[in-house]
């Protein structure tokens, strides 16, 4: 990692702000879920913010693309989707980013190149690879970041995709967000290896394990990966991270110890990055509190917007099935 002096302070503040926004947005969503204003599954990203923010901050969303899985709130916010439309989507309102038809697992924004949101474990990986094919076919200068969890890495779709991306030299960076648990299953119980980045070797690609609790480390690794991918060799990154909440809101997460959770909370990506910026006199505690106030307000306003937004008309039931 470079010395902090080599970074634009605007970028550093922006990384912190985006992580904080995700955190506050999701806390607000969890609250609304508790009040039964949001239904279904709600997979929170709390604890993993550094991965989406660190990686996506490298992108130019006018030419690059993002595809994520069902834990997609963080990626959508990091991509720059409107928090109001995301919260409204959680509320199932017509003003939601997917008109209330997708919900938490199906955030989309075609114009901003956010290609999901996907509720089937691993199903977005071939899709992201296909976006890479389109970029290459049209000789565009772009890259796809494809996110999936440690649960998805054993799916055939993952292995098929890496092989295809390599033989066709597609500009895709595959990012495994290893938060340690595929639902309630510790990845060490179901994985033949514990360093997923070495799977890249099977497909003659570059693989790298990064500390997913450190936003700058993710930022640097992704930056390097994007350059390699754009030059024709896809990359696999494994970001070691941790989710502070259960798999979804219905999961009390009893399969892990309090000590383990506590250990990772000590590595909170937001708090540790804030401290780093403070130590380097880039922000003060007051700046942070002001930033936090802003993020809380955005989350609160989003909830208000969602609350006050209308339900879809019943006519919407039969729209958008065919183009």
């Amino acid at each position: 990692m470079k010395d902090l002096k080599n970074y634009d302070t605007k970028l550093l503040k922006d990384l912190l702000f985006k992580m904080l926004l995700i955190r506050r947005f999701e806390e607000k969503a969890a609250q609304a879920y508790g009040l039964k204003k949001i239904g279904g599954f709600l997979h929170l990203y709390i604890g993993e913010e550094a991965v989406a923010v660190g990686s996506i901050s490298n992108l130019d969303m006018t030419k690059d693309y993002v595809a994520a899985a069902y834990r997609d709130h963080g990626h959508a916010l990091a991509t720059g989707l409107d928090p109001n439309s995301l919260m409204a989507e959680l509320y199932g309102k017509i003003t939601g980013c997917s008109k209330g038809k997708g919900g938490s697992m199906h955030f989309f924004d075609y114009k901003k190149h956010f290609f999901g949101g996907n509720g089937i474990v691993g199903a977005q990986i071939p899709v992201a690879t296909g976006i890479g094919l389109k970029i290459k076919y049209n000789k565009e200068d772009g890259v796809v970041l494809c996110y999936f969890g440690d649960g998805a890495i054993h799916q055939g779709a993952f292995h098929e995709s890496l092989n295809l991306a390599k033989i066709w030299n597609l500009p895709v960076v595959y990012i495994c967000e290893n938060n340690h648990y595929g639902m309630g299953t510790d990845y060490r119980r179901v994985s033949a290896i514990d360093d997923f980045s070495i799977m890249a070797d099977s497909y003659a690609m570059n693989g790298k394990q990064v500390n997913g609790m450190n936003v700058l480390e993710v930022y640097e690794a992704t930056k390097e990966a994007i350059e390699i991918a754009k030059n024709g060799t896809p990359v696999l990154l494994e970001a070691k991270t941790y989710r502070f909440k259960g798999h979804s809101m219905s999961d009390p997460a009893k399969y892990r110890t309090k000590e383990e959770l506590e250990k990772y909370k000590q590595k909170d990506p937001i708090i540790s990055f804030k401290e780093l910026l403070k130590e380097n006199n880039i922000i003060s505690e007051e700046d942070f509190l002001e930033m936090d106030k802003q993020c809380k307000k955005i989350a609160k306003d989003a909830a208000k917007f969602a609350e006050e937004s209308p339900e879809p008309d019943l006519d919407e039931l039969y729209t958008d099935i065919y183009a």
Partner: protein
């Protein structure tokens, strides 16, 4: 008018559309250097090159998903399955991604992709390689499903499929590739959701699609000898379904047999049977009969294999049953 094979008609459709629109690409196992497992894509690799005619490894889920992602991002891929039996590997991608992407994104995405390849019972291939998959796909809102019975229809429908902004399942009878028919040289397309009366008649309607059209027309000729005048309706497109033409024909003949080489249980045939009983109940002079594949996996033994499928004998019996003779 030139007489060409089904294989050539499908190839012509792809060739013409690839030449018309550079966003159209073809991908699948053996489609490029090998010129197609069934030689449907013969010559396209030489003409359009490896960027547009792409050989894939044997990874149906992977390359179907790649096609879907490419379609969402702006290309118009044709994905060939070496047979639709193997499409079951890609069922998740087709159903959960291709079919639903538009709906669950609130109408933001178009998924202009064609999944095509051989389908239906073949010969001596046993149960994994010899089955009709249309009902699996026809069940799913968001997909369009077409199944031509003649080279003329195949070309016109495939051109429409490639131009359609939705995912289209294009089913080619595996044993039909060498069947011949008249296909004009000039450009034409055939709209989806338009059934075609392949033979006018007044006594009984036989509804069918894809390969069984042949046995149905043979049956109609046989029945003519007994003075029975059969109307043969070819659906061509299963989803969208041309309900109007179906109902008008049944209103005219008052009797109906549906011939479908897929399994009978919750099938295309059983749905149409329900549709007719629901919408033309007062016109019916007899209950609707189905002639389908037997409700068994396809056996290897040829005698059993033939016995499992719709045949002229079975169709004639069903027609006579609805005529009470």
């Amino acid at each position: 008018m030139p007489i060409i094979t089904m294989r050539e008609a499908i190839r012509q459709a792809m060739d013409e559309e690839m030449s018309r629109d550079e966003n159209v690409i073809l991908m699948g196992e053996e489609v490029a250097q090998y010129n197609g497992a069934y030689k449907v894509s013969q010559g396209l690799y030489d003409k359009y090159g490896e960027e547009r005619v792409i050989d894939t490894p044997i990874t149906e889920s992977g390359f179907a998903g790649v096609g879907i992602g490419a379609a969402m991002a702006g290309l118009r891929p044709i994905v060939e399955f070496m047979t639709f039996n193997f499409a079951l590997q890609a069922f998740d991608q087709i159903v959960n991604n291709a079919a639903k992407m538009r709906y669950m994104s609130g109408g933001q995405f178009k998924v202009p992709i064609v999944f095509r390849g051989p389908n239906g019972p073949a010969e001596y291939l046993a149960s994994q390689h010899s089955q009709a998959t249309q009902t699996f796909f026809a069940h799913v809102p968001g997909l369009k499903v077409v199944a031509p019975a003649t080279p003329y229809d195949a070309k016109g429908l495939l051109k429409t499929a490639i131009r359609d902004d939705n995912p289209v399942i294009f089913l080619e009878g595996e044993l039909m590739y060498s069947w011949e028919g008249e296909v004009p040289e000039e450009e034409y397309t055939i709209e989806f959701g338009k059934a075609d009366i392949k033979r006018e008649g007044k006594d009984v309607t036989i509804i069918t699609y894809s390969k069984p059209l042949k046995v149905v027309l043979e049956s109609a000729k046989e029945l003519e000898k007994d003075g029975i005048d059969v109307e043969v309706l070819d659906l061509r497109s299963i989803r969208p379904l041309d309900e109007e033409t179906i109902l008008n024909s049944v209103k005219k003949t008052n009797r109906c047999v549906i011939v479908d080489e897929s399994w009978p249980f919750v099938s295309v045939a059983s749905h149409i049977g329900w549709l007719i009983s629901n919408k033309t109940f007062d016109y019916l002079d007899a209950p609707v009969e189905l002639v389908t594949n037997e409700d068994v996996p396809m056996p290897y033994n040829h005698k059993l294999e033939l016995a499992a499928q719709p045949s002229v004998d079975k169709i004639i019996k069903a027609v006579k049953k609805v005529l009470y003779i």
